[in-house]
């Protein structure tokens, strides 16, 4: 069952538009559940075959952990090269157009506080089962 859910198309197709969350008459935070399913899939290695979104998310995290910010064009290039190299070549004219308009910064910016950010992240364990599900943990608050 877990396999079927985590490998389904639905989980990674969710673009976080939050329609379901604001519409649910019972106040269920469906988008947050989708995030949880994404995390479970990555943790267990159960994602849809050929899905690009998990790779994209991992590369995103790598960039943020390294620089503190995300360089969006570098992210796109990295993901395309890893998943669809041909598409990366196809995108080159658009990339050039952005560059000509001054919208393609070449170097990523590293924030000054990156080492403190690492210290903070190191100070917390972000294991899969944290028991911390916002909105759903009121019962076991100490």
């Amino acid at each position: 069952m877990l396999d079927r859910v985590l490998k389904s198309n639905t989980v990674w197709l969710c673009s976080s538009c939050y329609y379901c969350t604001v519409r649910c008459p019972s106040g269920i935070k469906v988008t947050d559940i989708m995030y949880e399913l994404k995390r479970l899939g990555v943790e267990f290695g159960l994602v849809q075959e050929g899905a690009i979104a998990p790779t994209m998310s991992k590369e995103f995290v790598n960039l943020v952990d390294k620089y503190g910010r995300v360089h969006e064009t570098l992210l796109m290039i990295k993901v395309l090269l890893k998943t669809r190299p041909f598409a990366a070549v196809k995108m080159m004219p658009q990339g050039l157009k952005l560059f000509m308009r001054g919208r393609f910064p070449l170097l990523p910016h590293r924030i000054a506080g990156i080492s403190e950010m690492k210290k903070c992240a190191g100070a917390m364990t972000d294991a899969l089962v944290t028991g911390l599900h916002p909105g759903g943990t009121k019962g076991d608050e100490v």
Binding site: W12, C120, P134
Partner: protein, 295 residues
């Protein structure tokens, strides 16, 4: 003399990348309106939707660090990117209601001598302009009314969803209202708060192209000649992939887009260059000709 209001300002990664013009035009019109934006010192990425898909607590930690810095600067935080707004607001909200989360993130922040007590209000700039500055002060700055400009007001997903309680969650009106203050004509735009495809353009291109197509179809059907955006990701998606949409579906869209701050700037009398409209990928020259905007 006009009174001034102060905010810490969070531009977000997208505004120092492909959407620089949004940042520049936002700063320009804020100066004009008496809103002092002080860039949040050494801010970090909000995590977008990708970080939360891999790590939950660290994603909250990212926003908590920004909130802690804003609290130190003793100002509320003005944000322009709806995705950043959503993440910062969500963490703010969740930390407020969940003591366990507050403790965990709080003790991690201590490693960098930071703390967050929960006093910062996260505001979207459009909300600040419409509700704090208001109609009469905005109208007083209009020197070149955008008369006859038919605009599709496009909000995207995360302007009010899930936690922006200043406007309707499914059919917001704030941008429509602002456009009328500028003399423009917002057209009826039923898809105004639907998803543009955004990040799906990299991960599920076919789906995303269909979404962009329906947004443009809807704008044409309602006789708009341009689209006004609030979200930098929506903006770049519709702008950059119009050619791909045309190729995929045999359509002929050539739809110019403006960040809402650029339209404000135009109405306030600034020129294309000052507002970085010359960085656009689809030309708006024909649309702006009628307004007699200097090139």
């Amino acid at each position: 003399m006009q009174s001034r209001i102060e905010f810490s300002y969070y531009p977000g990664c997208s505004l120092e990348g492909m959407n620089r013009a949004y940042d520049d035009s936002a700063r320009l019109i804020c100066k004009e309106l008496g809103i002092d934006l002080k860039e949040l010192k050494d801010w970090n990425c909000c995590g977008a939707s990708a970080y939360m898909s891999i790590r939950e607590l660290r994603a909250h930690l990212l926003s908590a660090r920004n909130l802690a810095i804003a609290e130190k600067e003793k100002k509320d935080l003005a944000v322009v990117c709806p995705a950043c707004f959503t993440n910062l607001t969500k963490t703010n909200h969740y930390m407020g209601e969940d003591a366990k989360l507050r403790r965990t993130v709080g003790s991690a922040l201590k490693a960098a001598d930071l703390q967050y007590l929960g006093s910062v209000k996260v505001r979207h700039l459009l909300d600040v302009i419409v509700n704090d500055i208001g109609e009469s002060e905005v109208k007083a700055k209009v020197t070149r009314p955008l008369s006859g400009l038919k605009v599709a007001p496009y909000y995207g997903c995360q302007f009010t969803r899930p936690l922006g309680d200043y406007d309707d969650k499914e059919f917001p009106m704030m941008l429509d209202t602002l456009l009328t203050w500028l003399g423009a004509q917002p057209v009826n735009y039923p898809l105004k708060a639907k998803c543009c495809g955004g990040i799906l353009m990299t991960t599920n291109e076919k789906v995303a192209l269909r979404l962009v197509r329906s947004l443009l179809d809807c704008a044409v059907q309602n006789e708009a000649t341009c689209v006004a955006t609030i979200c930098p990701l929506c903006h770049i998606t519709i702008e950059l992939y119009q050619g791909s949409v045309n190729k995929e579906f045999g359509t002929r869209f050539k739809f110019p887009l403006f960040y809402f701050t650029q339209l404000m700037g135009l109405a306030f009398g600034f020129n294309r260059k000052q507002l970085k409209i010359d960085q656009e990928l689809v030309s708006s020259k024909a649309v702006l000709k009628a307004l007699e905007v200097a090139q």
